[in-house]
């Protein structure tokens, strides 16, 4: 028997490393079972996860395991009698989370040891590279990608073959292939999961791309907040180099290409491709004017091609299975699958990969199990700070570049943050504008000043100081910023504001006219009081209140002094009788 623990970043955060240590501590020198680890299984809501394998066959998946469970797991692995771990086994309902997915980009995630080249090879790894290098011309590779219909997964959805072809056609002394692993959308983690869990698939996908465009060097620009991704990729690059999969004369085919990692330093705008190139050159990450496009003049002024991690993760599968098999999935204008990071007020959060053409409802209810604590679904945010909020009555929108763009949101890179009735949509718009105003590089006046002005207006609205005409002013500013911005950051920054105004105008109006926050989230618009009929006088809230705003005698109704109350909400969670009223 073999015990395998899911040890991606989020598994570790949930305690997987402690479980690993606890099991290891119980193992004897000639133990009858082995212990290993894998990357992201993607069922974050069940982490830490421990899988029991018999050879290649998964016999039991144990979930929400703690270090205290180590002894029964070890016992089960030794004896083969699994009755002791029965209570940890994943439920049939939860198994559906994976069963309902179609995994291509994530095909090895949670199944192989991320840092084992052998594991990757045994899972068909590097066969696509061999096929491409030995039996296909670069043009044929590009043609296969064209047939597949693969479009960029970094957000904009530009056809991958077209970019590759442009870079191939471009004349230059050296060409570069760059992977955008900056994953700037706060709330998205697909790219981290792929690099951490299956680094060789990124290397293989990139090598095929490098062969197609004629690149001699590959650079991966990884977000600094992803230390485990960087470590695993470093190990994989080393192993690939030793196996002659990187470097000179790869697999004896005469094709040479090497690879290196560059850690980002925390600037959202560096996800924009020309800013990323500036950053690679050691400069401040300010976007460049296009044209010239990177395919003509990119890194070091040489022809360069930039793709997202997930884009590359699809490439070997396409070469192995053919472009047509990929294009068979999806809709008219969106082919293949897409990975989403499902988070927020969702019952089952994690990584979801499904064919294009499914609906948002399929993902949020069919796979994610709907909203936590039986609350009402309100909206889902897609595309992060560049995207928008899609409301409940559009839940049947299909996942397709065009259909999503029609809602005012975008497909984006895959962040899907679910919100319930307790999320204030004006607050959400403010949250994103706080972010973009902070991250604007400052090069264009419209973006720099425009986002700051919008942030100001939104701040005053959530404080109850909004004025008639503020909504219109916001709309006007949105237009101006869209038109006057040089790069995608500014051009898309208004989207969260525009979509929330479009679908939740009534919430804006309630803040401005009635000085009320319907979601009861905007602190400055809330009043706390105690329902004298429900209060039992237990004094708990008075003890808990940090502002000492609550007074009253034991067993008698308490009262809150509104002038002292700092609206921290702590009394609400401390009262067991639901006596605190928030309005």
């Amino acid at each position: 028997m073999r015990i395998v623990i899911g040890e991606g970043s989020c598994g570790i955060a949930a305690g997987a490393a402690k479980v690993h240590k606890a099991i290891e501590a119980l193992m004897t020198e000639n133990e009858s079972f082995t212990l290993g680890s894998t990357g992201c299984i993607g069922m974050c809501f069940l982490e830490p996860i421990v899988d029991l394998y018999d050879g290649k066959i998964l016999i039991k998946r144990l979930v929400k395991v703690t270090a205290d469970d180590a002894a029964v797991i070890v016992e089960a692995a030794r004896s083969g009698d699994l009755s002791g771990v029965e209570k940890l086994v994943i439920s049939a309902e939860d198994e559906e989370f994976l069963n309902r997915q179609t995994r291509i980009a994530l095909r090895h995630c949670g199944l192989i040891d991320p840092v084992s080249l052998d594991d990757y090879r045994n899972a068909d790894g590097y066969q696509a590279l061999e096929k491409a290098l030995k039996t296909m011309t670069p043009e044929q590779v590009i043609e296969e990608i064209k047939v597949s219909g693969l479009a960029g997964r970094g957000g904009a959805g530009f056809p991958t073959w077209f970019k590759w072809n442009a870079a191939r056609q471009s004349v230059g002394e050296r060409k570069y292939l760059i992977c955008n692993a900056d994953e700037g959308d706060p709330g998205a983690f697909m790219d981290r999961a792929v690099i951490e869990s299956d680094p060789h698939s990124l290397i293989e996908g990139m090598l095929i791309g490098a062969y197609a465009i004629g690149a001699c060097e590959m650079i991966v620009y990884v977000r600094a907040e992803y230390p485990l991704a960087i470590t695993n990729l470093e190990i994989a690059i080393d192993a690939a180099r030793k196996a002659n999969l990187l470097g000179e004369n790869i697999l004896g085919t005469g094709f040479s290409c090497d690879m290196r990692i560059k850690a980002g330093a925390g600037a959202f705008v560096c996800g924009e491709e020309t800013a990323l190139i500036e950053s690679l050159e050691g400069k401040r990450g300010m976007p460049r004017l296009k044209p010239p496009f990177p395919a003509q003049k990119g890194y070091m002024d040489e022809p360069s091609n930039i793709n997202n991690v997930e884009t590359f993760a699809n490439v070997s599968w396409i070469i192995n299975n053919g472009g047509e098999a990929f294009a068979a999935m999806g809709t008219e204008n969106s082919k293949g699958t897409k990975v989403f990071a499902l988070t927020g007020k969702i019952r089952k959060g994690g990584l979801v990969e499904i064919p294009m053409g499914k609906t948002l409802r399929d993902v949020i209810y069919g796979i994610g199990g709907g909203i936590r604590d039986n609350k009402e679904f309100k909206a889902v945010q897609m595309g992060g700070p560049s995207g928008g909020c899609i409301p409940a009555d559009l839940l049947d929108t299909v996942i397709d570049y065009k259909a999503l763009a029609a809602t005012g949101a975008i497909m984006g890179s895959g962040g899907m943050v679910v919100m319930d009735e307790s999320t204030c949509m004006v607050g959400m718009a403010k949250f994103f504008l706080d972010f973009t105003a902070l991250e604007s590089c400052g090069k264009c006046v419209h973006c720099r000043i425009g986002t700051a002005r919008m942030q100001e207006i939104l701040t005053r609205i959530v404080k109850g100081e909004g004025k008639e005409g503020d909504i219109e002013l916001l709309e006007e500013l949105c237009d101006a910023v869209k038109d006057g911005a040089l790069c995608g950051l500014g051009q898309t920054a208004p989207n969260p504001v525009l979509t929330t105004i479009r679908y939740f105008r009534n919430e804006y109006e309630a803040h401005i006219r009635e000085k009320k926050c319907p979601a009861k989230e905007c602190v400055d618009l809330l009043t706390y009081s105690i329902d004298a009929d429900k209060c039992k006088g237990c004094t708990l809230c008075a003890k808990k209140c940090p502002a000492k705003a609550i007074s009253g005698e034991v067993k008698k109704a308490h009262i809150i002094d509104e002038n002292i109350c700092i609206r921290c909400g702590q009394c609400v969670s401390s009262c067991r009788f639901g006596a605190i009223i928030v309005e």
Binding site: A224, K262, G282, R284, F431
Partner: protein, 165 residues
């Protein structure tokens, strides 16, 4: 060794020798050099930046420009424990503001500040990539998820206890 003439407290610049030997040849490596320097000193002291400028062959203002552009770089020393409080979208929706406010109130420090005893620095960050465990904080590389204001403060108290405070 570097023989620059800048003022202020002196850092042990010899610690930079290996980094500069490996990366000093090209201004394209400036960000990498600053990252390695920050790993050594915990932040970017002024004399270190001057020394890097001289060795890499760029103006000190350019080094400063890069150091201030990227949020990862710190120009002041940090505490023994760096608390990174996620303010990403998923964490925001799940109440990160209350969690951060509780930590901030308990330690008496705001974003970017360090406690008087030099133990903790609080820093707001955009996303730690563990969004399904939101709200999340990370302390010296270890992530803590599914936090409430109380459980976050309990984590900090645990560290204080360990440090005998």
């Amino acid at each position: 060794m570097c023989n620059c003439s800048c003022q202020g407290p002196k850092s042990d610049l010899s610690l930079l020798d290996d980094v500069l030997k490996e990366y000093g040849g090209s201004s394209g490596n400036l960000i990498t050099i600053l990252q390695k320097a920050q790993n050594i000193y915990g932040y970017l002291p002024k004399d270190v930046m001057y020394c890097i400028a001289e060795k890499v062959g760029v103006a000190p203002a350019d080094v400063m420009g890069v150091a201030t552009f990227y949020s990862q770089f710190r120009l002041t020393p940090i505490g023994k424990y760096l608390i990174m409080a996620c303010q990403g979208t998923a964490c925001h929706v799940n109440g990160s503001e209350r969690v951060t406010a509780a930590i901030s109130e308990y330690l008496g420090i705001g974003n970017g500040e360090t406690t008087a005893d030099g133990l903790f620095t609080l820093e707001n960050v955009a996303c730690l990539g563990c969004c399904s465990l939101a709200p999340v904080i990370m302390i010296n590389g270890e992530a803590y998820g599914n936090l409430t204001p109380d459980s976050a403060v309990a984590v900090i108290k645990g560290i204080q206890e360990k440090e005998g405070k």
